[in-house]
Symmetry: C2
Subunit: 321 residues, 2 copies
């Protein structure tokens, strides 16, 4: 296959001119431009993309770190990121970590040796210190409140505030025994929610019962597990905050099977406002996930000094409270 030098020769111009035609640089006369274009067409010439990357020192590739591609939350996020990437002529390198820190590390390494120009971390595992070491190699954008971090950018929802609001909402509906279900126990979003929970209990002078907190809930199936655990409690919570609508849906279904009436026996508040929440009429706090995905990508290579962007959560009242 012909390379740029061959094309230059055949078109009787310099390599530089061919490059300029290729990249739509100005300062090429119309005749030469057409001559070059003609030869390119004849030869069915293609730039060697690796040479372009080597030369430019960048690749128009952005890494996206997700724990699982199959989880609807990350599916939605990916959708938003992908759609925005298309519009900016970037491609996405998908890095699925399964919450394995090594995989995240690898992604950071890819940033270091410039296989990717930027990295979007949808759910972080490594410590801030580690992540920030890599910030000098390219933009790092996280999907969590990192407004106090100088080196990375972020797009997020205020989970502290959201959780607090949700607790307040249930409290006003008369609930005093409020539990919650969450995904992983560590992680910054979980931290903020736990904090909001503790602060709320403290403010309302409510006791903390550790059996009211359920960890490792990600999927529909996990709802069943929660309802099971609930049945072992002497004094179960009267309401549950569930940090993913799919889990909330699982809980709701399990309740229906067990004859637990929702919301009479158990009130449920979901998060995300995913399609399933609408379908099953789950009261939920809407998180604009797809939009968040788009915004996450928009942070890539942006000049603007706004490094941190917060999106709003809104309550969607339906029938589970």
């Amino acid at each position: 296959m012909a390379n740029i030098r061959d094309i230059a020769k055949m078109a009787n111009v310099s390599v530089t001119t061919v490059s300029r035609v290729l990249n739509n640089h100005p300062y090429v006369s119309e005749e030469k431009r057409e001559a070059v274009l003609q030869v390119i067409k004849e030869q069915n010439y293609q730039q060697n993309i690796h040479a372009v990357h080597l030369s430019r020192g960048k690749s128009n590739l952005v890494g996206v770190v997700v724990p699982f591609a199959k989880h609807p939350y990350f599916g939605l996020l990916l959708e938003g990121i992908a759609n925005e990437a298309i519009e900016h002529d970037y491609h996405l390198v998908l890095i699925q970590t399964n919450y394995d820190e090594k995989k995240e590390q690898e992604a950071l390494e890819m940033l270091k040796y410039k296989q990717i120009d930027a990295l979007i971390i949808c759910s972080r595992i490594s410590a801030w210190k580690v992540v920030e070491e890599y910030a000098s190699f390219g933009d790092i954008i996280v999907c969590e409140n990192a407004s106090d971090r100088k080196k990375v950018q972020s797009v997020y929802v205020d989970h502290y505030e959201g959780f607090y609001q949700a607790l307040q909402y249930l409290y006003e509906k008369g609930h005093q025994r409020i539990g919650y279900c969450i995904g992983r126990q560590s992680g910054s979003n979980s931290y903020f929610r736990a904090k909001a929970y503790q602060d709320f209990l403290h403010e309302k002078q409510l006791p903390f019962d550790e059996s009211f907190v359920f960890y490792e809930n990600y999927y529909l199936e996990d709802g069943q597990k929660v309802v099971n655990q609930l049945s072992y409690l002497d004094l179960p919570p009267t309401s549950l905050l569930v940090t993913s609508d799919v889990v909330a849906a699982g809980i709701l279904t399990a309740c229906q099977d067990k004859g637990i009436h929702v919301p009479e026996n158990l009130a449920i508040v979901g998060f995300d406002n995913q399609p399933i929440a609408k379908m099953m009429k789950i009261t939920t706090f809407e998180i604009p996930i797809v939009e968040m995905g788009r915004k996450l990508f928009s942070q890539v290579k942006k000049e603007s000094p706004i490094k941190h962007k917060e999106l709003d959560i809104t309550l969607v009242e339906r029938e589970t409270v």
Copy 2:
């Protein structure tokens, strides 16, 4: 940052030797190997990945074409592909097409100019003729029955057979008016299912009613739409084959809202056996999606002559028939 030549100088060896150390080639004495390793460590040296790609003419990147990342079917497929890719030290470039043929074309172009070494097309749009033109540039693997195609590889389930079996199953349960819901109207999987449907009607001497076929059903929300349309029919089907469990779940929920009893008034058979099918006790034909994803990736760069691989579908009887 130091390059391979700098390292060579510092270690008092040739560039070749450094390269050999880097790539674990034989013919490097232990002393030199260690000297090189030492310098590499000291200098915190990193290969320039673009130079490696340029030199090798490949990138260890595999493209994955999906219409939407947010659809659970593709989420599951992606999960399988991603997990297999990790094990083979490949990375994935996600190309979301939104069923826009241009995007798919772009993906094929990426294969042509070798930005990616292989391409997995999870749902094809372009004509075979177009796709096959690109087969010479790298492996192309599709997720549909392409057993009669020489140039591409495939991993698939027999949708003709699956659909036929499902129809047979409903027929044996006493249903004569069987409708079906499907995603896009074109597409090879849809073609095989439509064919199975026609063949079945013909065999059983049943009339074809075009109002029994519902197109463009992808998500939970679409189930509502189907049930609405159903209510306008004078003589609606007594049973429905639904090519995605999420849509089946949507239909089931909409039926519950409308007081349509399932399975008495309407029997529903889903496909995929996704978590939601289990949760909502939907009778469904299981498609091993995650495994299919893994197998799709396994076809990449495989020596074996097995270019086409069929996976089995199995009936999971639950409560919607």
